[in-house]
């Protein structure tokens, strides 16, 4: 006759071999888990305390800063004005730059009789007069980027050129 019932005694005996190992592993896992949980809870509490402390400090500092509102406004007003002054000092077109460029060179037989400059265009137009038309070309060559925009010969025999600089 075949016995289909499990052999309980044998099963228990087989499992009993792992009792020690399972107990040790369980203790390690439990110990580690408890340490991690306790550590996390402790860290959480520590952070909560720190959070409250720093919040209180911020409130106190903010209220002290608000007490010095007048001084803060003064600093900001001065700073704003410094910006305004600097923008005027650095942002304006200088009408003398091109004049210095032209006056720094010698042009034989040329008379500068006119000068037009506008701050928004930042270019100047010089009117030059000469009896020698070649002098105008020499002038143009000496001033880099310049171009003759108008050239006429007067009744008196003078060459009059408008040169854009």
């Amino acid at each position: 006759m075949i016995n289909l019932l499990p052999d309980t005694k044998n099963i228990i005996t087989n499992w009993m071999r792992y009792k020690g190992v399972v107990g040790v592993i369980s203790s390690f896992v439990l110990g580690g888990y408890i340490l991690a949980a306790a550590g996390s809870a402790g860290w959480w509490l520590f952070l909560t305390r720190q959070d409250e402390a720093v919040k209180a400090e911020i409130e106190s500092l903010t209220s002290q800063i608000i007490d010095l509102k007048g001084t803060e406004t003064a600093v900001r007003v001065v700073d704003e004005r410094v910006g305004v002054v600097n923008s005027f000092l650095t942002g304006q077109a200088d009408p003398t730059v091109l004049m210095t460029q032209v006056l720094g060179q010698t042009f034989e037989g040329i008379k500068i009789s006119g000068w037009t400059w506008k701050s928004d265009k930042k270019v100047a137009v010089a009117t030059v007069e000469t009896t020698d038309v070649q002098a105008i070309e020499t002038f143009r060559q000496k001033i880099k980027g310049s171009k003759v925009i108008n050239l006429i010969r007067t009744a008196e025999g003078l060459w009059k050129a408008e040169i854009q600089l």
Binding site: T8, K9, I12, M16, V22, G23, I25, S26, V29, L30, Y33, A37, S40, A41, W44, L47, T48, Q50, D51, V54, K55, I58, L61, T62, Q64, I65, I66, L68, K69, G70, T71, E72, T73, A74, V75, R76, V77, V78, D79, E80, R81, V82, V84, V85, F88, L89, Q92, P95, T96, M99, V102, L103, I112, S113, G114, W115, T116, W117, K118, S119
Partner: protein
């Protein structure tokens, strides 16, 4: 044959690992996974605390800077800055400064009001060199002047000029905004502009407004 009680006693050692597994299983959501896990909360809180500590540090610095400021000194600095770029159009200063800049080598034939509150000066002068020197002097004045246009024709010239001015902007204190650094900035400007010609007529304005005694008052 063993009784059921004996069998249970023999299997009892498995209760310990079972309880450990159950404990971990039930608290898993709270500690490791799930929306309420404490480690994630800790990370978020840590970030929050760090950023608040930085904020507190900034506020401490700001407070120290504010305590070190002398309001009288700031007022005098603002006075200087508003002398350089007034808050209103000081046409009288423009007249005075242009006369000073003209000197003896340039004759001012007349003044003409220009759009935008400026003036156009009609001048008589020898040549471009004289005009250039005058323009250089005009650009070295306090209040600052802005040359808008220059037109030389023979011995006459027209120069369009404006006083650099800008109305005061309403500025408010903001506790949580960092303070601008002003250390030495105004002193540098004072040094830079030390050689500039100052107009003795600095108070007349086109609108006839008077200057506020306390520029920081609301």
């Amino acid at each position: 044959m063993e009784s059921g009680n004996t069998i249970v006693k023999k299997w009892l050692w498995l209760a310990y690992p079972g309880v450990v597994v159950l404990l971990i299983g039930f608290s898993w959501q709270w500690l490791v996974a799930g929306p309420d896990q404490i480690w994630q909360k800790i990370a978020v809180k840590q970030q929050k605390v760090t950023s608040q500590q930085m904020e507190a540090s900034n506020l401490r610095q700001k407070l120290a800077v504010l305590r070190s400021q002398d309001v009288n000194n700031l007022q005098s600095q603002l006075g200087f800055l508003e002398l350089v770029v007034p808050t209103d159009n000081k046409v009288a200063a423009l007249l005075a400064l242009s006369r000073q800049a003209a000197g003896e080598s340039v004759t001012i034939n007349g003044y003409k009001g220009a759009t935008g509150g400026g003036l156009t000066l009609s001048l008589r002068l020898a040549d471009l060199t004289v005009l250039k020197d005058m323009l250089l002097r005009l650009q070295q004045t306090v209040p600052l002047l802005v040359v808008k246009s220059v037109k030389l024709s023979g011995e006459t010239a027209e120069v369009g000029l404006e006083v650099a001015w800008k109305p005061a902007k309403a500025v408010e204190a903001e506790a949580d905004r960092p303070l601008p650094v002003l250390t030495g900035v105004v002193e540098q400007l004072q040094q830079k502009l030390a050689s500039y010609t100052t107009s003795v007529v600095g108070v007349a304005t086109t609108s006839g407004e008077t200057t506020k005694a306390d520029p920081f008052s609301e």
